[in-house]
């Protein structure tokens, strides 16, 4: 294992794989704040050179956080397909990159490779990829999952309809749902972030979402994004839940800060399969985002990209239906501006797919970040090209509860028209029946009029 290189006549000596990994990262304000980022542009390239020549075996044997110390590491390492890993452990990271991009490697081949990769390998190859590499490679990998409908099939682009309300007013929430349906959003999930995440409130929200879904016979799934334990109790008390949601982290300490463990998530999944309302078998919904571990001081000196990959390694164990990074929500101290958010969005989507996850993205930003709606339109177009399973949508892109901006309902329809992508089949048929889209997939004359659902 060589941790040193000469570049432009200067010798760079790195102390550990973690240092190489952190310094090989594209610039992120979170890594700078953690004091682990490359100190110059040249040092960044030197780290990439060293990383390119490490083998997959080097990375397997040096997990970001030691096996004994961290449950996430154990789950990732124990879940590996040893035969597949053995067949490629001598590959360098650059060989892995080229293998993934090669014409002769199919999407199915990559899914097989994926079973032999640890999250550190997934992160490493990502650090060697340009933005267009990430789009091209992401586009090769198809990952489907089934809850009530099937997400992720080739030629589809789905949307989460996010009808949040600053005081959980149920009529206001339903109003935002109807508006989204009138533009063709909601085939991935109708997913609400409640303000009041107490048990009674969460139960009430589950019932209300189910009522809307049944009233209009919408072929989709529902989710109320409260803490996993609250949702579990709600289900035990009879709340109709298709999916169980939870935010997850890339270290055990980060998961502890979220109040979860691998055991708890496994228990939640069993409960959803046993007592949930969905057909399954994929009944979990996870959210992630670069920087979450640093914000809870649970990063162990590891860079935010590697920790994000470890979220996916952890999450795939529970065979989720939806996973999305909330890419620009965390703020400029982790992702400084639109350049960093766009990069992170493409990285997260690719890493999720390479980890075998049905990956979506909340293309978003906060108002203290140097980004705007134009940047989100750029990232969403790139992600749709990269074959992202789903995107998050809120009315006109403005989430009036979480006070940040995502994509609007208009965006999902625009992207579908532009790139000839379709909603999930059953949902598409439902949209036709409701006269929201026509046979060509365009909006009908009355689409966009949410009051059509009142008649």
């Amino acid at each position: 294992m060589i941790l040193s290189t000469v570049l432009f006549g200067r010798t760079y000596q790195f102390k550990s794989i973690n240092e190489v990994m952190a310094k090989a990262n594209e610039e992120k304000s979170g890594d700078v704040m953690a004091g682990i980022a490359a100190e110059s542009a040249e040092e960044r390239v030197a780290a990439k050179v060293v990383l390119a020549n490490l083998t997959l075996e080097d990375l397997r044997n040096n997990p970001a956080i030691p096996y004994e110390q961290d449950e996430v590491t154990r789950i990732i390492q124990d879940g590996l397909n040893e035969k597949i890993y053995d067949s490629m452990k001598r590959w360098t990271v650059q060989e892995l990159r080229e293998k993934i991009l090669d014409y002769n490697t199919s999407g199915n081949d990559i899914r097989r490779i994926s079973r032999g990769l640890t999250s550190e390998m997934v992160a490493a190859v990502t650090k060697l990829m340009s933005n267009l590499d990430l789009i091209t490679a992401g586009n090769k990998i198809t990952v489907t999952a089934h809850c009530n409908t099937t997400i992720g099939l080739e030629g589809t682009l789905s949307a989460r309809l996010q009808p949040n309300h600053p005081s959980d007013n149920e009529d206001g929430i339903v109003a935002s749902i109807l508006e989204g349906l009138a533009y063709g959003s909601g085939d991935a999930v109708i997913g609400l972030n409640p303000v009041d995440d107490t048990l009674e409130s969460v139960k009430r929200m589950f019932h209300r979402l189910e009522e809307v879904k049944n009233k209009y016979a919408i072929p989709t799934q529902n989710s109320v994004l409260a803490h996993v334990t609250t949702q579990m109790q709600a289900i035990r008390e009879g709340a109709p839940a298709d999916l169980i949601f939870q935010s997850i982290a890339g270290s055990e300490k980060g998961n502890t800060a979220f109040g979860i463990s691998g055991e708890l998530i496994a228990e939640a999944r069993e409960l959803a399969l046993r007592e949930g309302t969905a057909a399954g078998p994929n009944v979990m919904y996870f959210e992630t985002g670069q920087g979450a571990e640093l914000s809870s001081n649970a990063h162990h000196g590891v860079d935010q990209l590697t920790l994000e990959a470890r979220c996916y390694g952890f999450g795939k164990t529970y065979e989720p239906f939806l996973v999305n990074t909330v890419v620009g929500f965390i703020g400029p101290e982790y992702l400084y501006d639109s350049k960093q958010v766009i990069r992170a969005g493409l990285e997260d989507h690719f890493m999720g797919k390479l980890s075998g996850l049905p990956m979506g993205v909340d293309v978003c930003y906060t108002n203290h970040m140097k980004a705007d709606q134009d940047d989100m339109e750029i990232l969403s177009t790139l992600l749709a090209q990269a074959g992202v399973n789903f995107l998050i949508t809120a009315p006109h892109g403005d989430d009036v509860m979480l006070n940040y901006q995502s994509l609007g309902y208009h965006e999902i329809q625009t992207l579908r028209e532009l790139l000839q992508l379709k909603p999930i089949k059953e949902f598409e048929e439902w949209l036709r029946k409701m006269d929201v889209i026509d046979l060509s997939g365009r909006l009908t004359k009355q689409a966009g009029d949410a009051s059509l659902f009142l008649v």
Binding site: H165, A450, S451
Partner: protein, 297 residues
């Protein structure tokens, strides 16, 4: 092929349109002495302020199936509903309004509370170690630290009060300028009723919430109350929060803070919030606790 009836309708339509046009041109001709210049002259008129349009009341869908029902839906949420579309894209007016609201939110973060405002409200200005807004938004750890020199200034100015009020710009300077002049007097008046006088209020530039813990340690105050600008959303850029703690110390658990958020004209009105804060402070002094500990009592 055009049928006779269609042809007839077409001719009628054209005739009507021509009549309309000649009528319109007649109306314009009398001003012939200025004809050439009128079209290019700058009018004295001013376009209306688009930020004053009430989103809840504005329905842009041209021919809704149920107009009354739609307005009722809109009335239940501040979300931007009924915005209509051109093709699959937004109408120009809703897109411009969105941009305006985002501009206000960004300006609220990246602008400063004016020095005049700080003076007029008798606030003593100090600052954390952040060099500028850019460093402030990217380094939350620095927005809670003071130089030794600033610490001395704080000690000298504040002495050893029972209650110390601190105002911080936080992530919205606009929220401080919009609400403070109503909230602060209400807090003071409320406390006066309990015989507690509050003076020597501080203003902290580049302030994060845990900065109040340093103030707690420097002054030894029983209660520190921080009024700070919240991260703005598009619905309002003027939301302020109050973080209140009994004898706060650096690195104390977050659960020891009591928070009143959403203080603005459209949320908890600033005067009402001030009265509520005064009562909370009194309760904290009496019970010697804040945050979760106060709820348990």
């Amino acid at each position: 092929m055009v049928t006779d009836t269609e042809l007839k309708t077409l001719i009628e339509k054209i005739v009507l349109e021509m009549a309309g046009e000649s009528k319109a041109s007649e109306e314009h001709t009398p001003k012939s002495e200025q004809t050439d210049s009128t079209n290019h002259a700058v009018s004295e008129e001013v376009l209306p302020d688009i930020s004053e349009v009430l989103i809840k009341k504005e329905l842009l869908v041209p021919d809704p199936s149920d107009e009354e029902g739609y307005l009722d839906m809109k009335d239940k949420t501040p979300a931007r509903l009924g915005v209509w579309r051109s093709g699959a894209r937004y109408m120009t007016s809703s897109a411009l309004r969105f941009k305006a609201d985002h501009a206000a939110a960004q300006d609220a973060v990246f602008s400063y509370v004016s020095e005049d405002f700080v003076k007029e409200n008798n606030l003593f200005p100090v600052a954390t170690v952040c060099q500028d807004k850019d460093e402030y938004v990217t380094r939350p750890d620095l927005g809670r630290q003071f130089s030794d020199e600033e610490k001395e200034k704080i000690k000298t100015h504040c002495g050893n009060p029972k209650v110390q009020i601190v105002v911080g710009d936080g992530l919205s300077s606009a929220s401080i300028e919009a609400n403070l002049e109503n909230t602060l007097p209400a807090i003071k008046q409320g406390l006066k009723l309990h015989g507690i006088d509050v003076t020597n209020d501080l203003f902290i530039k580049h302030c994060r919430v845990p900065a109040m813990d340093v103030i707690g340690e420097l002054t030894g105050a029983d209660v520190v109350c921080l009024l700070v600008g919240e991260r703005p959303g598009l619905v309002t850029a003027e939301s302020m929060s109050a973080y209140i703690a009994y004898k706060p110390t650096v690195d104390m658990p977050e659960a020891r803070r009591t928070v009143i958020s959403n203080i603005h004209e459209g949320g908890t009105p600033p005067v009402e919030a001030g009265a509520h804060i005064a009562e909370l402070i009194k309760k904290m002094i009496d019970k010697k606790a804040s945050g979760l500990d106060l709820n348990k009592i």
